[in-house]
Symmetry: C2
Subunit: 306 residues, 2 copies
């Protein structure tokens, strides 16, 4: 069942769970113990890669101020590839000191977004990739560069692909091990997405390129299908679609892990995840943040079991 | 931009707006005048096919008890192909008397669903297709047979494809002009969907086959993409994703017209619809039913403009 003349799907897709980081970062801070219960539920789902937290300013992201405490627990699950997001060299050092050697470094492709989020231009953020890569490599880890607002910026509109290509080529030159393209505000659509993906792959043919999607406009899973059809094997997702801004009611976060697992597994694509356990983790996440999450499948499952 | 090596999209897709029927049928009844305001907004979106109402028992579907009054207004828009759903010959005669000659007739592919919804078995429902087709043809209209619960039934589980094939081959033999496969409970996924579509097309090679999707598990737009890639040119959708059952909070209805138009048009596929006007119609729908609709794009648009 993995093949259809117009839809040739791969045998497997590798999902990275980002609910602990992208999902929680805009929520009201929740206790570390509640986070660890969520992490336990996430790990139990069978996922193999988890972005556990971010080492950034606790003033900027109070919800993840307990990064060190969370990181200290990760040795409980030696089989999982944990990673953390960092915003600069200082964050990289903090992450490594806390025991997390696999790092993600986000660079906004538009200057307006980069300045608003990181207080510097895209070029300034790009210039330090090598320093962060060196830290990761010395610690035995890898560095993934994630390009934020890769398709559209909330301030500057459409992102010129040239800006993305400048970041990724520089990243690879400076030692980045992986790349990821982020649809930060959830505006991209299948053909636009693949056009940029193609350009990035052509510019960086030897590096794995993942895709980070948000479901803000209801097109997240369609984009995920398009990405998989185009050979993408690394997708980010968050349990429950965690990641909506609680100050913007109804805002959707990342694509929901359970929805992605549902259609992939039903289509014969192995994810390593067990749907019922992903749904359990999504319920734990919903309880932890204290408001309804946006995942349609989570709600459908809740109706079924109530 | 309509082509990518792994994603060849067609120049156009034909959307049928079903919010007035499938969208409203489970809502609390709203005044006919409010329905007509919604219909005005829908027509202004540029859509060319609208399922306007259904001629069924007002006891079974009180929300559409005003079918005759709605039908009487349809002559205001001579450029639109209006249709109505009927459940039997009597409904067909009522629809035609009210001026609607293009009919949709739903047959549930499982006996349990057919009995629960229509009080008879699938075979009994199939037996009268010819009589309904005759009525439509005598009135100068066409009959589309929609197979409900084509993939899964809430009572019987997976629907054996053989049951669907029996319905569609009989339908064509009895004079049905079009076919449509309905994912009534929103459980299907890309490869399963296409496997059944292929079987139906092989059995009925000369008849157009549309797809009717619900977004209950967040996979509606991914299924729509898969359908379009497999050559489907007729998709049902409802403004705002109207159609969730108000008694099951968060239940998703049909795939949202605006989300479908958004990614299709951005991908270079002509729908004839103008996104901003679809969003206006979705807002009118939301106001008419008096509760938040599930469309992510509608919510994102609401945040943007508030």
């Amino acid at each position: 069942m993995t093949h259809h003349p117009s839809l040739v799907l791969p045998p497997s897709v590798d999902i990275r769970e980002v609910g602990m980081r992208d999902g929680l970062q805009l929520e009201k801070p929740i206790p570390t113990a509640a986070k660890l219960r969520l992490l336990e539920a996430i790990v139990a789902s069978g996922v193999r890669r988890v972005e556990a937290t971010s080492f950034v300013s606790p003033r900027a992201v109070p919800a993840l101020a307990d990064a060190d405490a969370v990181a200290a627990e990760l040795t409980r699950w030696p089989g999982i590839r944990f990673s953390a997001l960092v915003a600069n060299v200082r964050g990289a050092v903090r992450a490594i000191d806390a025991g997390v050697a696999h790092l993600e470094y986000v660079i906004s492709a538009s200057d307006s977004h980069s300045k608003a989020n990181a207080g510097r231009t895209t070029a300034e953020a790009t210039a330090v990739i090598g320093d962060i890569a060196d830290e990761a490599h010395l610690a035995g880890g890898e560095l993934e560069v994630i390009v934020g607002v890769a398709w559209d910026c909330p301030f500057d509109g459409r992102t010129p692909p040239r800006r993305v290509l400048d970041i990724v080529t520089s990243a690879v030159r400076q030692g980045a091990d992986r790349l990821c393209l982020g649809d930060t505000i959830g505006t991209t659509t299948p053909i636009r997405m693949l056009a940029l993906l193609d350009a990035v792959r052509t510019a960086c043919p030897d590096v794995e390129v993942g895709i980070h999607l948000h479901d803000t406009r209801g097109t997240g899973q369609a984009n995920a299908l398009a990405a998989v059809l185009a050979g993408v094997r690394q997708l980010d997702a968050s349990v429950g679609g965690l990641g909506g801004c609680p100050f913007a009611p109804g805002a959707s976060g990342n694509i929901a892990t359970e929805e992605l697992v549902y259609w992939l597994e039903e289509s014969g694509v192995d994810t390593g995840l067990e749907l019922s356990r992903v749904l359990s983790a999504a319920s734990v996440a919903q309880h932890a943040v204290g408001h309804e999450l946006t995942s349609s499948l989570l709600r459908a499952d809740g109706r079924k079991s109530s």
